[in-house]
């Protein structure tokens, strides 16, 4: 039996395998050491010292230098532990920062050459709605905090009981209102922000109020009920290309940049498979 072991030891193949295993073990062990190794070299220490000097305007003492290095070691260990726990992966800010960096690359497209004027004008025609000046109203109102009172006022106004003759008589009607009693050249968005979107939509509906109709209503706002008179209606004004050509060119370039980014994003998106995991029915 013993002789068999001896002969095994003499076998070169066995030695070869044993040596291989040994090397593997050493490699394994040292690999693990590398993972838990923190290198403190001269450039690092110089950097720590420079930061210290920045704060204190003097060189650190030997004791302070030790504390600096120990502080760095502590931070490095905590960061590595955080990574080992996968905390960086869960961290919203780190994820967002990484995503932002790639977004930034997507932004970096070379601007395409501007088309000639005819081409630009064609693009303008296609998008002209966004250059038009929106419709606007110059209007007045009489305020009442409840609907019945508003209807009563409307009846009086329509019967000509309170027109007086003085142009500003209407201002004495109804209840006091903290915002304006009259607005000039106001578009629908602005009116909606002040009086509520429904109110603005009603007034901009040409069927409700026109300069010819005089006082109409009552219309409900965020504050109560109003009799409304539209004095002037400014229809949507078509934009003229020649007067805003520079702005159109700028918008065109921005739009191309946006499209290029969208295209780059689509390609990126297409290279991934998105799997939706179905929710199990209970």
């Amino acid at each position: 039996m013993k002789q068999k072991w001896v002969s095994l030891l003499r076998d070169r193949l066995v030695w070869f395998v044993a040596l291989g295993l040994g090397l593997f073990a050493i490699d394994y062990a040292s690999g693990k050491r590398l993972e838990s190794r923190i290198l403190i070299d001269l450039p690092l220490v110089e950097k720590l010292v420079a930061q210290w000097e920045g704060q204190t305007k003097r060189r650190p003492s030997a004791q302070e230098l030790d504390a600096l290095v120990e502080g760095y070691i502590r931070e490095e260990i905590l960061v590595r532990e955080a990574k080992r726990l996968g905390l960086d992966d869960e961290d919203v800010i780190i994820r967002r920062r990484l995503a932002q960096k790639v977004e930034f690359f997507l932004d970096e497209n070379n601007p395409p050459e501007l088309p000639d004027e005819a081409g630009l004008q064609q693009w303008f025609e296609k998008n002209r709605a966004s250059y038009d000046t929106p419709a606007k109203l110059t209007w007045r109102h009489i305020y009442a905090s409840d609907e019945a009172q508003a209807r009563d006022l409307l009846r009086q106004v329509r019967n000509g009981q309170i027109t007086g003759g003085q142009a500003e008589d209407w201002r004495a009607l109804g209840q006091p209102f903290m915002l304006n009693r009259a607005y000039t050249r106001q578009d629908q968005l602005e009116m909606g922000q002040i009086m509520g979107a429904d109110f603005a939509a009603t007034l901009f509906d040409a069927k409700t109020a026109t300069p010819a109709k005089g006082w109409v209503g009552p219309v409900r706002s965020a504050y109560g009920w109003h009799l409304v008179a539209v004095d002037t209606r400014y229809e949507t004004q078509a934009a003229r290309f020649l007067t805003i050509a520079d702005k159109v060119a700028k918008d065109w370039a921005n739009e191309q940049g946006r499209l290029a980014k969208l295209e780059a994003w689509r390609e990126l998106r297409a290279s991934y498979d998105i799997e939706l995991v179905p929710v199990e029915e209970k």
Binding site: E81, D91, R171, P176
Partner: protein
């Protein structure tokens, strides 16, 4: 004769233009306290939006938060002032620009090269001694400060559009007592401003700021200063003595009032109206209280830190012949550091960029189990935030966290506030500034409520339904911010009036807060509900409105739609006005309850709200007081 008939004709032709009086004043909403990337701290918190972006935001455009999402106003503002920190103005962006000389400084390279959050914290810490004037300064480059200041002025001039949008020139004077007892104030200019702002690096004593403002005014450049966060001043903002500890005299009171007609009552870092310990009988006093000194965990003394108390002390000092250094009006602002104020509870981004960008960082959303495990492993409370944020000057110890699993930071006690309101003749720099000077201003905790108050003798209740209400009130009385001369044996009448924000909850009640000093020099206060939702009347004994039964579902944030008022109006006569007693009166208008931002955060993250934070809020508006003077 000929001239007279010509004048009459002119009057008839242009009645409106000639007759425009104070009754035509409009409530304009604005922002008077905002930081861009040119403030040293804002840049470090990740803000890269400059003054132009801040003005675009105010006009209604969307701009980006440092962490990537879009910020946009529900309704654009009428006016705004960019108010960056004067000390080290523009210096941090310059430190990041490697073509400047200052970028070669050790502190600059430290800031630039800091890659991790904690390294950034260290680098920011390295800069603090320079800003606090504790080290010999070779970091400050005044050429950069002056050219940045010029850029800010030019940006304001570019965006100023008289009649439509007003951009005012301003900056923040960021002073303090020896440690962190906040004495910050914003300086706003009526028109143009001098070539260099007066900063704490020149003097930390606010009296020297006021003297500088006096001297600049003598050169034709008028300005006012608006203190803020008196709540975090540890009692120093409205102290009974001067900065150097000397007794207050008439000259000091006049110097202060000439330069500081307004105070910020509410902003993101809490509300400074009143502390519940000072006014135990005020059921609405515990509102958005931020109890720390700014940028620390040190508790801030209540005495001398809150406005109602300051008004009372002011009257007492006046009675002692020292003048009244606390006769200021009220305004609110956001103090955002991301170039964009967050005014709505349901659309809140706090103020310091990457540091408080989401619910977990703000303590409104529970941390995930790995984040909690991290804190256990390293036995460091708030470990996750220390590993993730870059806030620099945090001193003192955080209180023991009452809600395990949630972070507790100072910004957990912050909120979506506040908005400035002024009653101005027109939307121009001059008109808005003049309204501020006469204290015809109000502040809100974020929503766009409007409030008016008039006081006088013989103001009548029936005017409340008269379309000429405002005209009559101006003719016979004085508006908010003014003095009313007392009449012997008569009690003053008040007309108060508030309207809701169409984009927020309806109003619940209107209150008049009165404070006065008696013959013995003792100060008193009393709160009267004067108008109640649903047409109810206040109880004659308690002076309180009955409950209007409005509720909020904190799981969906839906609130009662059928209770509350679109507007509230009242005539009120002081039942207890005694001869010889000086008093102040201001209006507090209170909304029905809605969800607070922290509840919105939790709902969106699908977690429970932090039990240590208020779940609901009753937004409010405060008018400047009227002072009864004997």
């Amino acid at each position: 004769m000929k001239i007279r008939s010509w004048l009459t004709a002119a009057l008839l032709v242009a009645p409106l233009a000639v007759q425009a009086g104070p009754e035509d004043r409009k409530a304009l909403f604005g922002e008077t306290h905002l930081h861009t990337n040119l403030s040293f701290d804002a840049f470090i918190f990740g803000n890269r939006n400059g003054p132009d972006a801040a003005y675009e935001f105010a006009k209604g455009k969307a701009i980006r938060h440092p962490s990537g999402f879009e910020m946009k106003m529900r309704v654009p503002l009428d006016f705004q002032a960019v108010t960056d920190h004067a000390m080290y103005l523009g210096m941090v962006p310059a430190m990041f620009d490697e073509t400047t000389a200052v970028s070669k400084h050790r502190v600059a390279s430290g800031l630039r090269e800091a890659k991790t959050a904690s390294a950034r914290r260290t680098a920011f810490g390295a800069m603090m001694p320079y800003i606090g004037q504790q080290v010999e300064d070779d970091l400050l480059d005044m050429d950069i400060v002056r050219s940045t200041w010029e850029d800010i002025k030019q940006s304001a001039n570019r965006h100023n559009d008289p009649g439509k949008f007003t951009a005012m020139i301003g900056y923040e004077y960021t002073s303090s007592q020896d440690t962190f007892e906040n004495l910050h104030r914003n300086v706003l200019f009526r028109g143009d401003a001098p070539a260099e702002p007066f900063s704490r690096l020149i003097s930390k004593n606010p009296e020297n700021l006021w003297r500088w403002m006096d001297s600049v005014r003598a050169q034709g450049m008028d300005s006012i200063a608006i203190p803020h966060n008196s709540n975090g001043s540890d009692g120093f903002m409205f102290d009974d003595v001067t900065y150097d500890g000397a007794p207050i005299d008439k000259a000091y009171s006049e110097l202060r009032m000439r330069n500081e007609p307004l105070v910020e009552i509410s902003q993101v870092k809490g509300t400074s109206e009143v502390h519940p310990l000072q006014s135990p009988n005020d059921e609405f006093a515990a509102f958005e209280i931020m109890p720390y000194q700014i940028a620390t965990w040190h508790p801030s003394r209540e005495e001398g830190s809150y406005i109602r108390d300051a008004y009372k002390r002011g009257l007492q000092m006046q009675a002692r012949g020292q003048g009244n250094p606390n006769k200021f009006g009220l305004i609110s602002a956001s103090d955002t550091h991301v170039s964009a104020g967050a005014f709505d509870e349901y659309d809140y981004w706090s103020k310091i960029g990457l540091v408080d960008a989401n619910g977990r960082l703000r303590g409104s959303v529970r941390l995930s189990w790995t984040q909690r495990l991290g804190a256990q492993i390293f036995r460091i409370r708030n470990w996750w935030i220390q590993a993730n944020t870059i806030e620099g000057a945090q001193t003192g110890n955080p209180p023991k966290n009452p809600a395990p699993g949630f972070l507790q930071m100072q910004w957990s006690s912050w909120g979506a506030s506040g908005l400035a309101g002024v009653w101005a003749d027109e939307n121009t720099r001059g008109s808005i500034f003049d309204a501020m000077r006469r204290k015809e201003t109000f502040g809100t905790s974020g929503p766009r409520m409007r409030v008016r108050m008039f006081a006088g003798y013989g103001l009548q209740a029936k005017w409340l339904d008269d379309a000429q209400l405002v005209k009559k009130a101006y003719q016979r009385g004085v508006p908010m911010g003014a003095d009313l001369k007392a009449r012997k044996g008569q009690s003053p009448d008040f007309l108060v009036w508030a309207t809701r924000d169409p984009g927020s909850a309806p109003l619940q009640r209107l209150q008049i807060v009165k404070g006065w000093v008696d013959g013995e020099g003792q100060s008193h206060e009393k709160i009267y509900d004067v108008a109640c939702a649903g047409g109810a009347s206040p109880d004659a004994k308690t002076n309180r409105c009955p409950d209007n039964n409005s509720v909020v579902d904190t799981k969906t944030c839906a609130y009662s739609a059928d209770t509350g008022a679109d507007e509230l109006k009242a005539h009120w006569r002081d039942p207890q006005s005694n001869a010889g007693e000086n008093a102040f009166y201001y209006v507090r208008g209170i909304e029905n309850p809605t969800c607070r931002w922290s509840t919105w955060d939790a709902i969106r993250a699908d977690t429970m709200p932090n039990p240590s934070l208020a779940k609901t809020i009753q937004e409010r508006v405060w008018s400047s007081p009227i002072w009864l003077e004997h």
